[in-house]
Amino acid sequence: MMKTDVVVIGAGAVGCAIARELSKYDVDVIVVDKRDDVGGDASKSNSAIIHTGYDAAPGTLESQLVVAANPMYDQLTKELDIPFKRIGAVLPAFTDEQFEQLPAIKEKAFKNHVYDVEYLSKEEILAKEPELNPEVKGGLYIPRESLIDPFILVQALAENANENGVDFMLNTEVTGINVENGAIKSVETTSGTIETTYVVNAAALHCDDIAAMVGKADYKVVARRGQFYILDKNTSCKVQTIVLPIPTKITKGKLMCPTIHGNMLVGPTAEDLDDKVDTSVTTEGLNSIYADVSKMIPNVNLRDTITQYSGLRPNRNPEGLHVDVYDDLAGYVNLSGVRSTGLTLCVAMGKYVVEKLKEIGMNVSLKDDFKATRKGIPIFHEMSREEQENIIKEDPLYGTIVCRCETITEGEIMRAIHRPLGARTVDAVKRRVRAGMGRCQGGFCGPKVIEILARELNVPTEQINKNLDGSYMVVGKNK
């Protein structure tokens, strides 16, 4: 039987941030996730924004963690080599009613200890964001709203945790949790039983199912689907900042912003689903995005889309971010209500959960050999010609372009496969080095990536999946 000190369930942003935080201490940790790759569900399909928390409900745990997390990203993204950019957000007001809401929004930000929100006049906001509907009356500027590569964020946290001793069990589903004398005993998984003292439930969308295993499901998780468009880097209408709508009582609304890689992202919808798997895109959903966003940015050109996707945000009912420990269940920490702000607050949550674990008796001390840094895969198309020349000399595979749209080399794909927690699927390669992320969506490089994965993992091509088990790409050799 496998034995550890802490089992973290869920390898999304929060699970991986907790794992990385724990890896600073002399404690054994295993992260389990039913997916093929770290990155979870919600963590890989969101708007890729690091929020400030200006609009959180003041005084809540969510407010506390988001506000604390935002400033951590400057150092974290340097340490872990994560693409990150503080580009700022604008909140334009188009009607008198919206304009009158601005002071309240600014005041709420103040209550959340976000002190740097500024008013913008009509001229100022149009100067920052020329594509806004010229009827704009003015708005707010939130300078520290930022862009991140959400895939790399989670990978970097996971890889760094892994390098510091955390084990990851992927393609592993938790099937039960054993409790003995009011304390956690072990976790049953599809890959075997893990004996453990502590369990952290960071299963997001499925955290209620996990909680039910220990009789602590006093809430339900409803999947709230958000559909998005990604637009071509060459699209005719681009925004310079994160353009956020003024929220209504019903919804936070749909935004438009650049991605860290220069595409445009438009969305999301917010639809509550009956199940937790339906990541479809729908005609109605996509049409509603245009209807809403074109009011703010009239020239938005959704015909320039290179992909559409949807993500499921775990929406807690009743609402609210919770980190619960229980007097009658020693060793168990339950996270629930981690929603779209989870991507931002994950790093603060890591620290918070470790403190919780200490409170409930985890006796640990800091390791002296913790390695705080991680180096990403060298990106060919971001290098100077001279650097390109040098890296090809070192590794000739950097001279072979596999993905034409994003100019991704075989050298980068090889590194994506052969690094800690390396890619095993086509989508995992895509999320590490962007092969297939461009305008042809893997039409040219897909067949090649399948071959490289099969060759490097030494398995037949029919065993190469797009992502989950059963998502095979080809049925096998033809003759």
């Binding site: 479809s280 895109v281 072979t400 749209c405 042809c440 059963g470 096998g476």
Partner: protein, 420 residues
Amino acid sequence: MYNFECDVAIVGGGPAGLSAAVAAKKEGAKKVLIIERDESIGGILQQCIHPGFGLSYFKEELTGPEYAGRFAKEAVELGVEFLLNSMVLEVNENENTVICVNSEHGMTEVKAKSIILAMGCRERTRANIMIPGARPAGVYTAGSAQRLVNRQNQMVGKKVVILGSGDIGMIMARRMTLEGAEVLAVIELMDYLAGLTRNKVQCLDDFGIPLYLSHTITKIDGYQRVKGVYFAQVDENKKPIKETEKYIECDTLLLSVGLLPENELTRKAGIEMNPITNGPKVNQYMQTSAESVFACGNVVHVNDLVDNVSTESMKAGKFAAQYAMGTLPMATKKVENVSGENVRYLCPHSLSVAEENEKVTLYFRVLHPELNATIRVKSGDEIIATKKRQRVNPGEMENITFDTSLVKDNNVVVEVVKEA
């Protein structure tokens, strides 16, 4: 940086690049270089193993590899040089250089007197046409599937539905059937076939594969691998009619929903583009807005026959060679070619009219099918050329030829009208 000098540098070793190279050599260019990203020349024709090529150019029916092979052989015999496995990263029209990369030489700078863009095209994707539904494995563009099946020996699926009645889609319907898969339907949004009639007869009818015109896919089903598709008839606004929705169980969806010229390099070089073709604007010499840069083949506009690509590319090769040698005719005036009634676009987009008369051929597509049509070229108030066609159809490229000496105005208008 590895350096290479030549008279004419050609980006792309597919049918366009090969034809251009042959013509440039024949015109007298000394050093002609093809830069090709694949490990072998021939481009997409290498995977187009079916027949139907060369009927107009060679007057015999060839397969894709044979067609490419003939030009490749000629190019090799004429002394055309090749840089294989080499991806062009940048075309710099001011300095007349092309920057490319390969494993062997690393970063490479090619200096040329003229440059021909012949990058071809890519397929429209699921995202381009926004098919709703899940995003499982098993959704392929027809061309990707063709590469996997015909070159990599990988079978993509067993039960196949094809969206789009383009030629590649129909050809893949036959190909998959021959290799033992079951092709359950070809679904076409329009009320007419997108590809050639012969392909419907020989690829669908021969194998009893049903074609659904005026239908579309309304939803993809399956979270890991495709489990099936919902499809429905569309109304006159191309909106699905909910009551007609049906379900087909399948494991694979192939898309043959159009091609897009691949012009990332062209755009990056700041060359003027035509928004309808998504290709560079060219004159009758296939010369772009950057005078040392020429373009030909599917990078300019998507052709239905490779024979047309060769004819057009031979022009590009010939005139790029003349440019390199300083013998390209000097223009006395520039004439815009304007699309008139029932003409979607014209190629070339402009004429560079010189002192001496030239015969020029304009290629174009109609907007909608028409019977008993007359193609007319007007300059000012005068009709300077006409041509009768029993049938015109958006899937098949039309052309008309006239003398530049007849052009009186600063533009010519091409129109397709129904005979009274």
